[in-house]
Symmetry: C2
Subunit: 275 residues, 2 copies
């Protein structure tokens, strides 16, 4: 069984149905899906196409954006997250990636962080009932203001624990956490707590893209030591899929079969040996 | 006595002699200088001009870039750092800001970090003899690969301690550390250890500039809570200067007197009240 799963945004510019076909054609058996891309063909049809192709769904991206300051916006965000949970269930994945949201100017990042566990606790029972685990994703600190106030694995674990729900977990994405001095210990602690829900890989390439969100590199095109991080994940006994999640204009410009072949080759040489 | 000091790169495009004049004209009494800008007129002349204008020098930027992997490049970097220490002494400042350097592709960030304390220990006696303290600057994790492998205040303190020299300290720069969940505790720990050498301010503005190094915003133009961070610094008893260090194309495009007036106004309203 291959360990590699292809996150849909690694091939973001490929229509959903062609993406699913291409992954199956590449001999892989798992995809990470994105809600807005699935919406192109509808959740029902996507679920059927994935099943017919013999694929499983490692994660759904994404819930979150739960830091709005007004009660109305917060209620709307919670509703949207319940829909995301429903979609995860319908697509047959047990993991919903949560990008918790950023700040408004004038808010204290510490206060916004403090409110996260209670908000997650409001969603967790609904997720649990759907057989879906909420996976908090710490993002690189360059996204702390606009995307996710969770910046470290340690903080993600603390918030998952503080939510009071055992099913809430954490995503380990190399791009976001490779620089963290505590990363090796924190991976172990997260797994020890039964909360290591997803391992995602991409490289830290420079220079940053003009839209920094799209700066992720194919493994081997940057500075991340995949042996060390993958070894730390494997040492915990993690046996799940490893998602290649690479937002990169060059990769998007390639024919999808070539892009998949490149990602698979780099995964096989730089990540798989340490699993 | 004003607490504000103006870092030279906030007015990077202004020639050194005119920068010194402009700061004095603005009624301020301190500058943070940069080696390459000082070199325009020479260290001796810069020292004299600063003294004649009644200014002190809060810090010199910068030493560091000490992570080269070959012995020859490392020896050259150590030599350059000794020259930087000499220049700091000649300019009459007791603080040399150290940007320790990044990675080469294929190096483990953990191994590069592990080597830093011993390298700093090689320089520390020379610095001590010159009456100069080496101030390790943790930089935002988006610079971990290319500028400084020290990404957190906690790690900077650990490395300063591990250098075995009491004179080695840490720079707290809001831009680099504002996102860190441990920042308030770490500021206290650094001061408790007698190692809080400089407090620098600028804001986290979005979007990032095309050169991310120049994304720093004037205080009030971004997401940083200066009350909280400045309060934490002040609570330690820190009584030194506060350097406005703002690399920003818009600020550089302004007439220097206007730029200084803007920085001073924002400092007075957003930082000074919490000192």
């Amino acid at each position: 069984m291959p360990r590699l799963s292809i996150n849909q945004w690694s091939m973001k510019t490929t229509p959903c149905d062609r993406f699913i076909d291409a992954v199956a054609r590449a001999g892989l058996d798992s995809v990470g899906l994105w809600r807005q891309n699935v919406a192109e063909i509808g959740v029902g049809r996507a679920a059927k196409q994935v099943a017919d192709a013999g694929l499983s769904v490692s994660t759904l991206c994404r819930g979150g954006f739960l830091t709005a300051s007004t009660p109305a916006a917060r209620a709307e965000a919670l509703d949207d997250n319940r829909r995301a949970i429903d979609e995860a269930h319908a697509l047959g994945t047990d993991t919903l990636v949560m990008v918790v949201g950023g700040l408004e100017r004038g808010q204290s990042i510490r206060e916004v962080r403090r409110a996260i566990p209670a908000t997650i606790a409001e969603l967790a029972p609904y997720a649990r009932q759907a057989g879906v685990r909420l996976a908090l994703e710490p993002m690189h600190p360059m996204f702390a203001a606009d995307r996710a106030v969770i910046s470290t694995l340690g903080d993600a674990l603390a918030m998952a624990t503080a939510s009071g729900d055992d099913s809430v977990g954490v995503v380990v994405d190399t791009y976001h956490i490779w620089w963290d001095p505590a990363v090796l210990d924190d991976i172990a602690r997260i797994a020890q707590a039964g909360r290591l829900l997803s391992y995602q890989v991409s490289d830290w390439s420079l220079p940053l893209a003009s839209n920094p969100l799209n700066s992720r590199g194919v493994m081997g095109n940057g500075y991340i030591d995949f042996a060390e991080l993958t070894g730390a994940v494997a040492a915990t006994g993690y046996s799940g899929k490893v998602e290649a999640e690479i937002f990169n204009e060059s990769l998007w410009a390639m024919p999808v079969d070539d892009a998949l072949a490149l990602v698979k080759m780099r995964f096989d040489s730089l990540v798989a040996p340490y699993l």
